[in-house]
Amino acid sequence: MRLSAAPSSRTPTPDPSPQGGGELTACAAIAARFLAVSFFAIAAINPTIADTIYVSNEQDNTISVIDSASLSVTATIEVGRRPRGIALSADRRLVYVAVGDDDRIDIVDRAARKVIGSLPSGEDPEAFAVHPDGRRLFVSNENENRVSVVDIAAGNIAIEIRVGSEPEGVAVSPDGNLVVNTSESSSMVHVIDAASYRMLASVLVDARPRSAQFTPDGKSIWVSSELRGTVSVIDVAARKITAKVSFAVPGIARENIQAVGLVLTRDGTRAFVALGPANRVAEIDTRTLKVTRYYLVGQRVWQVALSSDEKRLYTANGNSGDVSVIDLDAREVVKSIRVGRSPWGLAVAP
């Protein structure tokens, strides 16, 4: 289709039915509007920023590479065993993936599309966070009740921080000063000083806390509780829970609503929470703390990630082996992309 200026401004478009001049102009105007709408429709399908989405496939020991323009898998990268946590390096040239059964973090070169090295991680790494200064990784070691701090340049573990039982979710504050870590078995959220590694606070949350994320202003931490199916908002300065969000989906039993992965938009106004075996992602208005929409995605949705322009949300659906693409402007799921078995996490790179 040719995307040109509205034809009504110049030569009238040929009209099949023989009409007078008035009808011809009206038809041309309709045609122009149609062209304009099509142009915008195509612009929406092809977003201005082209992303590459990396998905860890826990059972296949691979990473699926998805191109945001075609929304299809363009490559599959072999990695170590049991890949789960996945994140971009600070300079975005590399993808780090925790390969739990190999007790290390594999380093994938994005350009070469293969593993070029690895970092130590402590035992059985699952979740980890990259410090924005690009020098350190914070890795949860579930078996050891520790968070390992990995010095990327030196390629070693600088220090191990003792935390509660079964650490999992870990995130760094936007200013890089704080690290948050969740202990699944102790139901605790630990706030740790990123320079001294001292534990500053431990806050009791609902059972089996999984993901923890700082709000963009660094003032709050959002934590998902898998067992109770809630999300708690913790005020960092006050070190207490200031709000809690619950979920209800008609026809889904309480036990199957399990809050797992979560992400917030850059302006902090919206949060998206994966609800595990409820097969849905909840969109939350952070100012009212109300769920504004439930998106039905694939089975056992685990982690979620926003596109660079935040017009889309991608979800890793563990049991159906696919990634759902949610158009956040149209507010609907537009596509499912088949990936490897048990997709776990996603990293989106512009």
Binding site: D124, E142, N143, G164, E184, S185, S187, L204, E255, N256
Partner: protein, 389 residues
Amino acid sequence: MKFILLAALMLVGVAAAHADELTIAFVGRAGLVSSPYGALEAPITDQGIAGARVGIADDNQTGELTGQTFVLKHFVVSEQNGIAAVAAAIAADHIRFVVADLDEGALRALATLPGAEKFLILNAGAPDDRLREEACLPGMLHTLPSRAMLTDALAQYLVWKQWRRWFVVAGPTPADKLYAAALRRSAKKFGAAITTEKDWTFRTANARADTGHVTLQTEIPAFTRVADHDVLVVADEAGEFGDYLEGRSALPRPVAGTSGLVATGWSRVNTQWGATQLQQRFQKSAGRPMTPVDYAAWLAVRALGEAATRAATTDPDALAAWLRGPEFLVAGFKGQGQSFRAWDGQMRQPVLIAGPRLLVSVSPQPGYLHRTSELDTLGTDRDESKCGK
């Protein structure tokens, strides 16, 4: 003046030592138990208490951060030290919470002794359906699944597979007979047909006899030559003969029940939902894999700890109410939160379908719906319960 100050300090010290401290008594049986993981595993001397120990350590991990302390005391019922003596010892220590691995008779005796109304008893060892039904004891909670839950879980899986014709082989002990009866009820409930039922009447053979397999190779095909069926379901709770059937039956059929595909509250083969963490903690602590009774004991101690954390108290009456309340949930490493049924005190939980080396499935199976919780499709539901009626 000084003396009074010192005394006051001592009193404060004592008070502080007991504030926010919860003591749990674990009551177990004396003697050896054969491992549910087969004849090659060593017999177990510390079943149950080993699970309780890991539970108390887990409770104290959280307790360190919430200012609560959890203490475990071990009591053993034996010939010399009967139920009455053990109950008296528990009461003398002012302990109100009791986790028990006892058979039905001993459990009933413990619960009906004078003074036992003060105990909150959590049953981690007796699967008897009577204890959840017509002979239920007021206030008792159960973390071990009932036999009905186990056979229902198995039936759901076998029917999901369309393996509806069962050949049931029942052992000679009362427990085996009860398991077979539960199988009959589950078959009816889920639409399976028991095409043949036979009693295992052979004497228990010594497994390690030099040419043991020769006799079995001829005995078992003859014993199992019956009308066609899809599955051989065995009721052998003590694990005396069930393992002999696999690979030897007349028809090539999978073995399920107490052997082969086993419906159980816990198995060493569960590595899903973070269970590896619990399995490894237990292995490290006890030097052997976790059994279903170990798990039930761990679960009971964890339930008490979780209640104490959430209710922010160690007061026994408050905890008893919280445990049975609508907010209580405990993480059991089986994929969803577990809580106690209001009508019979049974902990609702997923039931594993465990193969000998890997987890095969977990019930409830998809498609079995329920008004309030799909976990309640396993075992006795509210409307059918005879407890308290």
